[in-house]
Symmetry: C2
């Protein structure tokens, strides 16, 4: 086919240039029953041209086709939405309403795995053969190795393990050469090795991905930039949570003699995370480092300030439309202050522990003992998945779970995000060192039974309106170091009282 000059500029390898085909042809390599592993993490670097074309192809030729789709993390709805009807099995993370509906209905099998483990399991062969890898790249080098784009996720593992490879060359964005640090995990019976990484800025791999060129069955062009993600500004609640987090960090600096060096920060996404990143900028901490999953809008101002900021490591950048423009404006400067790594490495327990990372994430709800539900509404229906929260909470130097103390539901009720128990546990009390809400923070760092810790979490973190109900639960919970009410009738009464309280919450309606 005729290859545009823009595309030619991005493909320096003649063998692969000869494999450029229209996407309509490329999608035929995926058939019913295929396992497909793709690039993409928090809507960045996904195959934005291939997947919608594949969905169209299936809808026209084989509406009964079903595939297994594996990605780094979430895809944009423009990409996953049309594909959802054709996905039988999905992992390890999604935020697609279309997929979620099918998962809840039992039409799509979804496996929720720690992101670091997922990438390694893929290499170990636990998910079987990878039939086709579809990976977005920004450039194909002379020897055929590739430069990825705005995310790394599982791209390198997909290219290493797939039987067939489709490369999607994105000509709409810049050439990302210099942003990546690529290295594959060891696989038994090969001997594992210590990762020679002791600073956030250390690079231990290559800036490109090498793989077996003979497996490439198609190269397609994409002219679609990453779909922007909404930027959630901090509200008053988020700001108060952020204040408590900064307070806690300042207290730790004093108590544990950090000196001027704040340990590297991992921060989730959302408005609370944005508030924390914002207030951290205005805090006394200098030379801040991020060891995190996603580099986002709120971190952009750091890149402009060499006093405030030292370095960031992530597996993806993910921006609003405005943030993306700002990022592109300082693209060259960013290259010296930001590195993107495979998600097994960004989320590596070994590195998170070694670097003393401070982890912060928002759950759906916490319980009075410090157990955390990050994934399932009513304990039954998955929202997005676990992502990397477990990788970070478990291995962090300090693990902070932050949530508003209440949440307003669409039906008008206001529920407590601090509950007597949560019906799906993703992170146990063993992994959480600090619970923060806009009310305050409670520590789980000393030698103290869960029952006494609970008093603290209720009195410092729960909304005052719900505190009497939570204390009432604890009073009736009976003996034990971490007592749980077991009498069903009593429990039923508690839930009835709680339900009435959620309807009578003062700010409701």
């Amino acid at each position: 086919m005729t290859v545009t000059s823009t595309l030619k500029d991005r493909i320096e390898n003649a063998e692969l240039l000869a494999k450029v085909v229209p996407v309509e042809d490329a999608v035929k390599h995926v058939v019913h029953g295929s396992t497909v592993a793709i690039s993409g993490f928090t809507k960045s670097g996904e195959p934005k041209t291939f997947l919608p074309a594949l969905a169209w192809h299936f809808s026209q030729t084989s509406p009964e086709a079903r595939i297994t789709l594996l990605s780094g993390a979430s895809l944009s709805e423009d990409v996953e939405g049309p594909m959802a009807p054709f996905i039988a099995r999905r992992g390890p993370y999604m935020s697609s309403p279309a997929s979620r509906r099918r998962i809840h209905a039992g039409e799509m099998d979804f496996t929720d795995v720690h992101l670091s483990a997922f990438a390694r399991n893929l290499m170990y062969g636990f998910y079987g053969d990878i039939d086709v890898a579809v990976v977005e790249v920004s450039r194909i080098r002379k020897n055929g190795s590739v430069i990825l784009t705005s995310s790394v996720g599982i791209s390198a593992e997909a290219l290493a393990r797939a039987k067939k490879i489709v490369l999607e060359v994105n000509t709409s964005g810049p050439d990302y050469t210099g942003f990546h640090d690529i290295v594959l995990p060891a696989v038994h019976p090969h001997v594992g090795w210590p990762l020679p990484l002791v600073n956030v800025r250390d690079r231990i791999g290559t800036p490109y991905v090498e793989f077996d060129l003979s497996k490439v069955v198609a190269v397609v062009e994409s002219r679609t930039p990453d779909h922007p993600v909404p930027f959630k500004a901090a509200d008053d609640t988020a700001k108060r949570i952020a204040e408590h987090v900064i307070d806690f960090l300042l207290r730790c600096r004093e108590q544990y003699q950090w000196g001027k060096r704040l340990p590297p920060i991992q921060s989730g996404v959302g408005n609370v995370a944005n508030a924390i990143i914002g207030q951290l900028y205005d805090s006394p901490f200098q030379k801040i480092r991020f060891w995190t999953e996603v580099f986002q809008d709120g971190m952009l101002r750091y890149v402009e300030d060499d006093q405030k900021f030292e370095y960031a490591s992530a597996t993806a950048v993910s921006f609003s439309a405005e943030g993306r423009q700002r990022f592109l404006d300082m693209f060259e400067r960013s290259k010296d202050r930001l590195v993107l790594r495979p998600m097994w490495l960004s989320n590596s327990p070994e590195i998170i522990s070694r670097l003393f990372v401070i982890a912060m994430n928002t759950p759906i709800e916490v319980d009075i003992y410090g157990h955390v539900n990050s994934t399932h509404i009513d304990g039954s229906r998955i929202v997005n998945g676990l992502g990397g929260s477990g990788d970070f909470f478990r291995n962090a130097y300090l693990s902070i779970v932050h949530t508003p103390s209440t949440r307003r539901l669409r039906d008008g009720r206001t529920v407590s995000c601090v509950m007597p128990y949560v019906r799906h546990i993703d992170h146990t009390e063993h992994d959480i060192k600090c619970v923060v809400t806009e009310q305050g923070y409670a520590l789980n760092m000393d030698i103290r039974s869960p029952k006494r810790r609970a008093q603290d979490i209720i009195d410092r973190c729960a909304h005052p309106y719900f505190r009497p109900l939570l204390h009432a639960y604890l009073d009736m919970a009976g003996p034990g170091d971490e007592p749980r009410a077991s009498d069903m009738k009593v429990l039923q009464g508690w839930w009835a009282d709680y339900d009435a309280a959620t309807r009578a919450f003062p700010q409701n309606g």
Copy 2:
């Protein structure tokens, strides 16, 4: 005081020899409010003379005294029992009936932490100052550094952080020189470093512990050998579980192309663990390596067989009376085939992951989705604690939870160890790859929603007698990928049916 010649032989350092005092004097360094960190792990290497003497001292002089007691893991009841009335705070693991009673009654605060995290938290200062370290040693070297005994646990951290040190020189056992590999974890703001350990047999530290001699306030002699632990022989159920485990491992060897090299094995304690270790010996696997917490009776025969066995790494040896004698008989031979390390290292996520360890532990109960309760009866009352199960399950190459499908209670009922939900979760479904009972095994390694996995766990692992009840729960659980019944009345009905079933179980009395 007069020092016996046996003791003199063990103390080569003159400064410390001069500090030998009767234990009755040494205990006075511990006072009401002290935080005391001691040696000891699974009843091995504990200060067997000091602690009972301290308990006697308190009972005679200050019955109101309360201290914080931190150890590696469990102590023998001879040691912890007398002390229990004087312990206000305890961590991170215990198996003492006396302590357990006080914990359940809310008289003793107990903190349950992953063992690897506990040792690091101690170094980080999260548990505050350590007033006194009491550590059993087998020899004091010329320069004052010490050789530990049958366990390492937190001994090195205790010696590093304590303000005062009491050394308990055990003259009843051998000189353990050559068995240990001692290294301390890095503490922020020092830079963490990669652990240069890529084989089970690699040693990365020193065979002795160095510390500030000026902190030693007393040296006491102990003539008490480690209290023996009961050896639980494998019953038929344990043997059938072990057969399924070996089957699973052989299947993995084939499927994941291990060749002849079985990844290192971590094995818990108890009769199922003994059955597995026993059958592993009779399996086709050769050159077996253990990367585990405790080296026990069942592993002794390996040491005699260079074909079957390569090397073992643990943080303690723990034997029955008979096992201990056998171990002493081949003490020199063992030295070349076994190393004891600090528990932060034996349980290090970095190393467990790098070495592709296969982890196996017994829980109290599992649920149909693969969540595991390892610690709390009825979700409320702690048994022993988490120990290292989370360190190993989370970071293992393969994580295997094994349990009999039913358990007979003292009241005559027979309960199912596979439940619709467990009321305390220590390990989530995300961390478990294989559930084994004497009925069979179910995998959690592929891309599959929890609801479908549940069908498998019920049909392959639950006792046939309880399967209809478990399916009934799943049928009423409603929509979702991991559905949980939420209607309290329906739930109440299910529990009533279940309770009746536990009483009517065919083999019951």
